[in-house]
């Protein structure tokens, strides 16, 4: 670990110094732009560096073009220019937030690059073209040096990262399945939906970087998408099984054969959690588990149905876990054996769409525009020479942390980072630089700082603050061809930076701090609407997509610390979504009479979820109850099949979730 970080730090320092050297050699205007570009693209995994480098490059070009478009016509009417700049920053920030992949960096950069380039030349608008070109050149040098260094010196590939992440997730899932089935106690820490959805999101991010990996890494997007779906199925399957088992246990109807079936799953998952290499335990052939209830003479119809439900969900859980292992193994070694149906699915799988928070995007865009306007207003009204810099930093501050519900604390720590970097920069600028001359000495005196900052970047916890310090350190030094010691300018410029960040923080605090609970409600309503629409149209509901939405809800519930928020139950939504998906896929394969029943079920659930998204609950409980009961009865009367028992299980689970007050006791009456 230590040596890995040291290698990273050395490679990064080398990249920084070569970027600085090249920028000096070409007589470029602001070599420090090249320096901090290296720090910005630096990441421990080579694919990430390369993708960020490309996104940064394209974003910078768009932003530079924007500045070129706005400055010349508007430079003589500062108010209009401020307005145009604010709208530009806000627009691109909103676009950026609609995209949750690393690609969003491109749009965000397009926004504030225009502010950086444009607002620094308003006093000399004829320089706009040169400034834009030099910004693009210097950033190109910085990202090229960074990308080269991190691809050449002992690169770590995204594939390796992905493999480690997936392996630890599977191990943790196995442990957690075993624990839930034996003790039936919730594990501590963040809730299961939060943890699992975070992993599914991370896999998505790593998948985006994968396209930019060095050439020896194979394209594996389809396998990854299916793996995300299977990981997302673990949670609802386990939770549905648990509920059915708990119901059996509560009424003392847990038979010995049923207990044996539970123990089989527990043993298997215990074995997986303790295996030296969990992926070696993959079973390529899909398991065939008995689907008939283990007890030949169940006591009541109620117990029989619950037993069948528990068994089917346990089977579903086993199957999903097996598929996860097989897919994860195929990621490591494409030649690994795989079930033919699974392989077909992996080859044709599309990417999982991520949840899009349109409202967050719009509100953040408006907030960023407002912050830029406020800074520009102070600049114009106060005849503040460095006001342009404040406006630039207001734009940066609003953009950088916009994805968070509460960005203000992050901006505060960024301000702290700037304040830490300042004395260090002042030391160099006014104590060290006057005594030195020439690039080799400059490189020598700067190397220790760059090395330390690069090392900090390799440590996950310190990476954020290291980046802030590195950027503001190199910005404050403002390394230029000839040394100019001007303490007044140094202080004024850096104070303007801090002022800009403070403006960003104030605007965000006033205008867009989102309460986690109300965000959770809003996102949950969106998810309900999506479930309702899918149910009514019979469209496919992808488990990973649902988990992603629901994960956003449960993440916010966890963050707020509220254990029990009225009307929000992420786990229940996941169960209903998964069981609904089972019902919908059964509908397409079923006999016409059964399909009609299942269709009635899904339409009733669709109506209920649509109503729920509007804040109304229990609109058509009676219709839903009769649709579910008729469906269960119809399937029970038919020939016993694997699909039939899975569908019955889904229906019983839906009934337990949607109509908790109407016990299955009334079932007999409806059917008779």
């Amino acid at each position: 670990m230590f040596s890995q970080r040291l290698v990273f730090a050395l490679a990064n320092t080398l990249a920084v110094l070569s970027a600085l050297y090249i920028a000096f050699a070409f007589d470029l205007e602001r070599p420090y732009w090249a320096v901090f570009s290296v720090f910005i693209v630096a990441a421990p995994v080579s694919g990430m560096v390369r993708s960020k480098a490309i996104y940064r490059w394209i974003g910078t070009i768009i932003g530079g073009a924007g500045a070129l478009l706005m400055i010349p016509p508007l430079v003589h009417s500062p108010e209009l220019l401020s307005l145009a700049m604010a709208l530009w920053v806000g627009f691109w920030l909103a676009i950026s937030l609609m995209d949750r992949t690393p690609r969003s960096y491109l749009a965000m950069l397009a926004g504030y690059t225009a502010a950086i380039v444009g607002l620094s030349v308003v006093d000399a608008p004829q320089a706009i073209f040169d400034t834009m070109v030099s910004r693009i050149e210097e950033i190109s040098i910085g990202i090229a040096c960074g990308a080269l260094a991190h691809s050449l010196f002992f690169p770590r590939s995204v594939a390796g990262e992905l493999d480690a992440r997936i392996e630890s997730t599977l191990r943790a899932s196995a442990r957690w399945i075993a624990a839930s089935l034996t003790e039936l106690a919730p594990p501590s820490g963040p809730s299961a939906p939060t943890r699992l959805s975070r992993v599914v999101g991370e896999i998505y991010t790593l998948n985006t970087h994968l396209a930019w990996e060095t050439s020896d890494v194979m394209p594996i997007g389809g396998t990854l998408s299916v793996l995300q779906d299977r990981l997302a199925s673990l949670l609802p399957a386990l939770s549905s099984a648990e509920r059915a088992i708990a119901a059996l246990r509560a009424s003392n109807a847990l038979t010995a054969p049923m207990q044996a079936a539970i123990d089989a799953t527990v043993d298997r998952t215990h074995g997986l959690a303790d295996a030296p290499d969990i992926l070696e335990e993959a079973r390529p052939a899909r398991s065939t588990r008995p689907t008939a209830p283990p007890s030949a003479t169940p006591t009541t119809r109620w117990a029989h149905l619950h037993e069948q439900t528990a068994l089917a969900h346990l089977h579903e859980l086993d199957a999903a876990l097996d598929d996860c292992l097989v897919l994860a193994r195929a990621l490591r070694d494409p030649g690994a054996p795989m079930d033919a149906a699974l392989r077909r699915e992996a080859e044709s799988a599309r990417r999982v769409p991520l949840y899009r928070d349109v409202r967050l995007a719009l509100v953040s865009g408006v907030a960023a525009a407002a912050a830029v306007l406020v800074a520009c207003g102070l600049w114009i009204a106060g005849a503040w020479t460095e006001g342009g810099i404040a406006a630039q930093f207001a734009a940066i501050g609003c953009s950088f942390f916009a994805r968070l519900d509460q960005p203000a604390p992050m901006i505060r720590s960024a301000i702290l980072g700037v304040l830490v970097a300042l004395p260090l920069a002042a030391l160099y600028e006014f104590a060290v630089f006057p005594g030195i001359d020439g690039f080799p000495v400059l490189a020598l005196v700067l190397a220790p700082v760059f090395l330390a900052l690069s090392y900090m970047q390799a440590v996950e916890k310190l990476a954020g603050s290291a980046l802030v310090i590195a950027v503001s350190f190199s910005g404050a030094l403002a390394l230029q061809e000839t040394y100019v010691a001007d303490f007044a300018a140094f202080v004024n410029i850096n104070l303007a930076e801090v002022a800009g960040l403070l403006i960003a923080m104030a605007v965000i605090l006033v205008g867009r701090t989102l309460d986690p609970i109300s965000s959770a409600r809003r996102i949950a309503r969106g998810a309900w609407r999506a479930i309702g629409r899918a149910a009514q149209r019979g469209a496919r509901l992808r488990p990973a997509h649902l988990l992603d939405c629901i994960g956003q809800v449960s993440m916010r519930l966890d963050a707020s610390g509220a254990r029990d928020v009225h009307a929000l139950n992420p786990l229940q939504d996941l169960r209903i979504g998964a069981n609904l998906a089972t019902v919908m896929s059964a509908e397409t394969n079923a006999r016409p009479d059964v399909a009609r029943r299942l269709r009635a079920v899904r339409e009733a659930i669709g109506a209920q979820y649509r109503a729920r998204s509007l804040g109304v609950r229990g609109v058509n409980d009676a219709t839903l109850a009769s649709a579910l009961d008729r469906g269960i009865g119809e399937l029970e009367a038919g020939p016993p099949q694997r699909h039939a028992s899975a569908t019955i299980a889904a229906l019983v689970s839906l009934r337990m979730d949607l109509l908790p007050d109407r016990g299955l006791g009334g079932l007999g009456a409806v059917i008779a």
């Binding site: 080579s46 080269l148 691809s151 050449l152 690169p155 060095t214 050439s215 020896d216 890494v217 194979m218």
Partner: protein, 74 residues
């Protein structure tokens, strides 16, 4: 190859244009080699890609030597 090309009056180093062209060309070559499974026998893919880029750039420079900046310059 030393000199600048004029694109609507904007002077761009000829080398930059060649470098961009060879970057694109390298991506295409990479894709083909990857399809062929060539990278299984490469020890250090990053190093290989950089070398490939340099070779492609060199070839392009050679190939465009006589249609170079002289003809593009205004």
């Amino acid at each position: 190859m030393i000199g600048e090309a004029s694109i609507h009056g904007v002077f761009v180093p000829w080398l930059l244009i060649l470098a961009l062209a060879s970057f694109v060309a390298t991506q295409l070559v990479r894709r083909v080699l990857r399809r062929l499974g060539f990278y299984r026998v490469v020890w250090h893919a990053g190093l290989f890609d950089v070398a490939l880029f340099v070779i492609v750039l060199w070839l392009l420079t050679l190939g465009t030597a006589h249609i170079g900046p002289g003809s593009l310059r205004n």
